[in-house]
Symmetry: C2
Subunit: 204 residues, 2 copies
């Protein structure tokens, strides 16, 4: 697809990428020249024109630092396809798409301790991304805190939430554990929902 880059062009392109990463803004033509040892700004412009023609960059004419990097992978990761965790007979379909790990901007992160959500495959050591502002629906996994000043004050727990007739059920995903029932009154006054789990992340 893309035309090959000559050596000076490749160096310039690499420098622009590096400069943007480091400074949060594109370099000027003179800064590029200084970095790749080109004395003339006109000469830099010449190479930029080629880079533009080859599709590596775009430029906003007459604007300072007007270089726009194309293909600057926007913090997304390519989804190559699906993979069989089962029998090795399935193939890669080309479900071309992008997984944007940067889409989580409102969330904060908690690291999970314990086994109570294990049946939902949230394991000890996993990270959960919690959205403070999301709407809570029945069956959502939430972070709930008991706020009254008792022995377990400030205690937070990770559970699925279900609104029943006169009470709230906080349901662990672990068959060996019992749900917690909280009356509506107690719920309103003594408990607080810190947010809803929108994603799980695990490192190996």
């Amino acid at each position: 697809m893309e035309a090959e880059l000559s050596d000076p062009q490749a160096r310039i392109y690499a420098f622009i990428n590096e400069y943007v990463r480091e400074h949060g803004r594109p370099p000027t033509n003179r800064e590029i020249g200084g970095a790749v040892d080109i004395q003339s700004t006109g000469h830099v412009d010449y190479h930029l024109t080629i880079l533009e023609k080859k599709g590596y960059i775009r430029r906003e004419r007459k604007k300072s630092r007007g270089i726009i990097l194309m293909h600057s992978e926007p913090r997304g990761l390519r989804i190559e396809g699906t993979i069989a965790a089962g029998v090795p007979l399935d193939i890669y379909p080309d479900a071309r798409d992008t997984l944007d790990l940067g889409e989580h901007t409102r969330e904060y992160v908690l690291q999970v301790r314990g086994q109570s959500m294990i049946d939902d495959h949230i394991a000890d050591g996993d990270y959960v991304l919690v959205d403070r502002d999301a709407a809570i629906n029945d069956g959502d996994i939430v972070v709930a805190t008991h706020t009254v000043a008792t022995a377990d004050a400030g205690a937070a727990t990770l559970k699925r939430i279900y609104k029943e007739q006169d009470r709230i059920r906080l349901q662990p995903a672990n068959s060996t554990m019992d749900p917690i029932y909280v009356s509506k009154a107690e719920w309103d006054h003594e408990w607080e929902v810190q947010g809803k789990v929108t994603a799980v992340y695990r490192r190996f």
Copy 2:
């Protein structure tokens, strides 16, 4: 920590953030003025000086578009602490740290189908991040492909890998499934490891 922002300062700060997100470079003082309806560039400079004093931005003096956003969360997410998935008696310790979802640059993504890694809590629909270049060790979860031209050619599978005496064991994490054994010779010629799973991601 941070001083409050006055209305014009908040508008300017918001505009800078938005502009950077959209254009990949900071705005000029005149562009800021145009956006927040300030006629004088000196006036914009006045507000920027305050924003700098209050710690919201830094500036590289005399450089065009020299505004540097502080706290521009560098695609990382704050880890607020740990949370008990078990009994609601545990508390938030302040394990202040940052989870950098942008650290995955070499990996590509596959979406998992099937249940064969379920005992490792990799569920149907989860995304696995696969590193092509990582060193493979015993017990790692890998993407393996059978490359010979048979019925299941090109088939990829997600398994834990173990090197045994004269064979390779591809072990599913599902007690109802049996491991696949591959002889060393067959392994070298007919199989290919596409990479090692470095992380798991699940959206709700």
